[in-house]
């Protein structure tokens, strides 16, 4: 069983600089063909200051920083039993090349179903830019199959 003491735990802040080559790599990896995501001129023509980070990109912040893997270790969830159950994003402002986004998360809840056969970890995150403007909120549900 995952120790319930982790409810309320705050993860260390993860700082993600939004870089052009990374966004272009991400676009390639997901097969994105819309030039808004790879060509700065197309992005500007569409009204963005530079290439926008695609809708799910901010999930990278805590992967790059190691905070996401550290959490799984802290909770002692074996990687073979770990599943991503749900993911939500709420958007409040654009995130583009040149921005630096800081993601801060806490564990909102840990609960189980089916007499502990499945355990759920709910993580909520806030993402702010370099001007301290809230640009997105995220909610992640991790599932551990026991």
């Amino acid at each position: 069983m995952i120790d319930r003491k982790w409810i309320g735990h705050e993860l260390p802040a993860s700082v993600l600089p939004i870089e052009r080559s990374r966004l272009q790599f991400f676009a390639k990896a997901i097969g994105e063909t819309d030039p808004v995501y790879t060509d700065t001129a197309a992005a500007r023509a569409a009204g963005y200051p530079d290439l926008p980070a695609p809708p799910t990109f901010l999930f990278a912040a805590e992967l790059d920083s190691g905070a996401a893997f550290r959490l799984v270790e802290d909770l002692q969830i074996p990687i073979a039993r770990l599943l991503h159950g749900e993911q939500s994003f709420m958007y409040y402002g654009p995130v583009c090349v040149g921005d630096t986004v800081t993601v801060c998360s806490k564990i909102g809840d840990i609960y189980d179903k089916k007499n502990g056969a499945l355990e759920f970890v709910v993580k909520t995150s806030q993402a702010v830019n370099q001007r301290d403007e809230l640009v997105a909120e995220m909610r992640t549900v991790l599932v551990c199959r026991n």
């Binding site: 808004v36 926008p52 799910t56 990278a60 939500s88 994003f89």
Partner: protein, 137 residues
Amino acid sequence: MTPITFDAVQVGDELPPLQLPPVNRNTLALFAGASGDHNPIHIDIDVARRAGLPDVFAQGMLGMAWLGRLLTGWAPQSRLRRFDARFQGITHLGNAMCCSGRVAEKLEAERCVRIELQSANQFGQTKIVGEAIVSLP
């Protein structure tokens, strides 16, 4: 692309579906690097086998990123207010996912639409269901 307007959209309208090529190991390796998800269970068959799985499988966030492409191909990303996904099944090598969406509700006060999303493979197995809220001019 002709901008989609709130008044022109009807409940039941379908987004143009997005058909993906079959998932292969190269797809997973590229997404591991680009997304920052270096969990070897998605890229190293030895790790997957030690975990009791027959082979590597796709990152959930790859499937969600594809649903994101479906959405931003329909309306500009700056219009996206909310995007939710529930991962219902593992996407295996060889699965060719089709992302689809339909307008489920018009939220008149906010001039937003609620889109129901789905990602299913060539055998009709649903792997992700989701929802999005999109603000329309």
